[in-house]
């Protein structure tokens, strides 16, 4: 009886659910008011300043040139076309930088754990220096102080008269396929097919009889050997177009503009330092008992790493490694400081300034990065769910 009376007496205001509902409604009202105010003000301000409201600018002529493009683009193309050029350039930087940074990062991370004291100190100095220097400073240094300070085309530095360096960029030899390239490509495909079949056969034989075969060696020999033999028989599949001086500039070859070289170099060296730390922590986190147990089973050092340590370390390495890959994509927006034509420089820079459509342009730019981030994040969640340690 007493309890019921107490419940009646206590005010509704002390009910957790009522309060929760109240706070949530309050928050919704605040956010709604802010949003309405922003939209209202934006409408007034944009009309007052003559800023376009819709996405009509997308099909207008851009009228500016872009010095690096993977698809057809000229000054007569539309703003929409410029957006795609910028997006592809951002993707290009990511596609080049991510594998290179991974390679360098793993090398330094492993060097950090090397039994050689001097090597591990060198790796430590590298990671400490790079992790504590702003990326922008690295980019400006490589771009202004190194690449832009190189001599002009007529005094190009060269490496073996094949690779040229001057203040207009790095000139690499460009492979030009000849007719024989078809045979060469066929030989590679055939070799890969053979190698895969052989490995599968070796694996089955091992599960059946326990006998091992040097399948990696044989696969390598096939993939390298067969194309070489074909190339020797049918003639070289490629000729290399090497840059040469004509007039005041180098022509031919594969020109990497200095902006791109500096951006890739800066991103790779900077991110590799972070990847190295991730790799080191991942490998160290695998308990020593695991490698001891592996050697007790008779696995030698290489197999212990390959079959026992690395698979367990990868579970720890993958999530932070993925966020470093996202960082590379996001940090490539620093291109705007050195004039590499990426998405931010072209679209959020030049297009925004010309059209004044700040809201639409920034919205699209941010949406692109958000889509990339969320896609990678959900892929990572899938990976985690698949490979997470299953406790039984």
């Amino acid at each position: 009886m007493d309890l019921a009376r107490d419940a009646k007496r206590s005010s509704r205001l002390n009910d957790q659910r009522v309060r929760g509902l109240f706070y949530q409604i309050l928050l919704l009202v605040c956010i709604g008011a802010l949003a309405c105010g922003a939209v209202y003000n934006a409408a007034i301000n944009m009309r007052a300043r003559g800023i376009p409201m819709g996405f009509g600018f997308w099909n207008e002529v851009a009228g500016f040139e872009i010095n690096l493009r993977l698809i057809e683009y000229s000054g007569l193309s539309t703003y929409g076309r410029a957006f795609w050029v910028g997006l592809l350039n951002t993707v290009l930087i990511g596609a080049i930088s991510i594998p290179l940074a991974t390679l360098l990062g793993f090398m330094i991370g492993v060097a950090r754990l090397s039994p050689n004291w001097l090597l591990s100190r060198f790796a430590l100095v590298y990671t400490t220096l790079l992790r504590n220097t702003p990326l922008l400073l690295l980019l400006l240094f490589w771009y202004n102080a190194v690449l832009k300070s190189l001599p002009g085309p007529r005094q190009s530095l060269s490496i073996g008269e094949v690779v040229f360096l001057n203040n207009r960029g790095v000139y690499l030899p460009m492979p030009v396929p000849r007719d024989q390239a078809v045979w060469f490509a066929g030989a590679i495909a055939l070799a890969i097919a053979f190698a895969a079949t052989f490995r599968e056969w070796a694996r089955r034989r091992q599960t059946r009889t326990g006998a091992q075969a040097p399948s990696t060696l044989i696969a390598l020999a096939l993939v390298i050997g067969l194309p070489t033999v074909v190339a020797a028989a049918a003639g070289a599949p490629f000729t290399f177009d090497i840059a040469r001086l004509s007039g005041f500039n180098l022509t031919g070859g594969l020109q990497v503009i200095p902006e791109m070289a500096a951006l890739v170099f800066g991103l790779v060296t900077f991110t590799a330092a972070f990847i190295a730390e991730i790799v080191r922590a991942g490998i160290l986190a695998v308990p020593h008992g695991q490698s001891e147990a592996a050697s007790a089973l008779g696995l030698h050092r290489g197999l212990t790493m390959k079959l026992v340590v690395i698979p367990q370390a990868m579970r720890l390495i993958t999530p932070p490694l993925t966020s470093q890959y996202l960082n590379i994509v996001k940090n490539s927006s620093l291109a705007v400081f050195i004039g590499y034509p990426d998405l931010v420089q072209i679209f959020a820079g030049t297009v925004l300034n010309q059209t004044q459509a700040a809201v639409q342009v920034m919205g699209i730019t941010m949406a692109v990065y958000l889509v990339i981030s969320l896609t990678v994040a959900s892929a990572l969640n899938f990976y985690n769910a698949r490979y997470a340690l299953k406790e039984r």
């Binding site: 949530q24 928050l27 220096l129 620093l334 700040a358």
Partner: protein, 374 residues
């Protein structure tokens, strides 16, 4: 038959240990020459160091130009640093275009800030709560009044257009730290809240900010913010990037704090509730003190990232230290390849010493915390 017994009366002199069983040589064999590959690596690295280090040291010291009135001497010495350039531009690098007669105000703000930061970072300092109150509440107001000026106090107003150099870098970092930590704590609590609307709003904000590059946040703060407020409220051009920085940093801080909240046992929450504490008191007296202590190293590492990110504010027209250095390098009186390299190297030393120092501090705190948990 006679029995011959032999009793040894003195011990044989001890042999010296084999040379490779102890001391430096053993260490060298184990750590530098343990295998053929290791030995080769050692030789190559020693050769590399012997080739590069003396050149580097000579470039920075004996071949460097220490005093000069313009860039001519530095252009003549291409093999050494041009520290004279840094000395000549030092005032500009520190204050930007802040009026000469008012620069003492910046000095005072920096001095107060330094004292307060030491107070907060020194783990055994007395009355750190008071220090925190001064740093997070009183100091920002004092700094704003001193730097911007106030006609009622007789301090001439200094337009933010003139602000620049190291003090703008420090200011940006301190504003980011002071405002992003409380905001980050709120967002982290919001994300873990049982109220669906609150947690959804926090998650959306955090994931949105973490998903886009910092530059786009700066662009947004600079170009879109003025459109979203009435014409008369348009924020100052220095304030806009600061708002962007606080938003950006708060999202990362929130994730750090969330880690701390998650690491606390359920018993802490249940214990606090059993004592009859309501939500704000439970958080303020039981949960947050533990959770925040737990993630101090992570928070400091976030500050390191924030400090490095302040270099990007020049994209929206702020003159931070790096931008001031860029401007100084473009001065035709001081132009030359070694001068440019010297400028960037000096900037690198500046950022490195701050970031490395903070990193060491966070490692130090981590060790103290680990001791407590044993």
């Amino acid at each position: 038959m006679e029995f011959v017994a032999y009793v040894r009366e003195a011990s044989e002199p001890e042999d010296l240990p084999p040379p490779l069983s102890s001391g430096t040589l053993l260490w060298a064999r184990a750590n530098l020459f343990s295998s053929l590959g290791s030995s080769l690596t050692t030789v190559v690295l020693v050769a590399l160091a012997a080739y590069l280090l003396p050149q580097l040291v000579a470039w920075a010291t004996s071949h460097a130009v220490w005093t000069a009135s313009d860039g001519a001497a530095c252009r003549a010495h291409q093999d050494g640093a041009c520290w004279a350039f840094v000395a000549a531009k030092w005032d500009y690098l520190r204050f930007g275009s802040y009026p000469l007669s008012e620069r003492w105000r910046v000095d005072i703000v920096e001095a107060i800030g330094a004292v307060l930061i030491v107070w907060l970072l020194w783990t055994n300092a007395p009355r750190r709560a008071l220090g925190a109150l001064l740093f997070f509440v009183v100091y920002p107001i004092v700094a704003l009044v001193l730097l911007h000026g106030s006609s009622s106090l007789g301090l001439p107003i200094v337009d933010t257009l003139l602000w620049g150099g190291i003090f703008v870098s420090l200011l940006t970092a301190v504003v980011g730290i002071v405002f992003s930590l409380p905001l980050g704590v709120l967002l982290a609590l919001g994300r873990r809240s049982p109220l669906p609307v609150v947690s959804l709003a926090s998650v959306l904000f955090i994931e949105f900010v973490r998903g886009v590059p910092f530059i786009t946040i700066l662009f947004m703060a600079n170009n879109m913010l003025p459109l979203f407020v009435p014409e008369t409220w348009t924020p100052d051009r220095l304030l806009r990037p600061l708002i962007g920085i606080v938003m950006f940093s708060a999202a990362y801080m929130a994730e750090e704090v969330r880690g701390g909240l998650q690491s606390l046992g359920k018993g802490q929450f249940e214990g606090a509730m059993a004592l009859g504490l309501n939500y704000p008191r439970m958080m303020a007296f039981v949960i947050l003190p533990q959770a925040l202590t737990f993630v101090i190293p992570g928070i400091v590492n976030n500050f390191v990232g924030l400090f490095m990110d302040t270099t990007l504010v020049s994209v929206v027209g702020m003159t931070d230290f790096l931008e001031a250095m860029n401007n100084a390098i473009k001065d035709p009186v001081w132009s030359g390849p070694t001068i440019m390299v010297t400028g960037y190297v000096f900037a690198a030393i500046f950022y490195f010493s701050f970031c490395y120092g903070m990193g060491r501090y966070s490692a130090h705190v981590e060790r103290i915390l680990a001791k407590g948990r044993k």
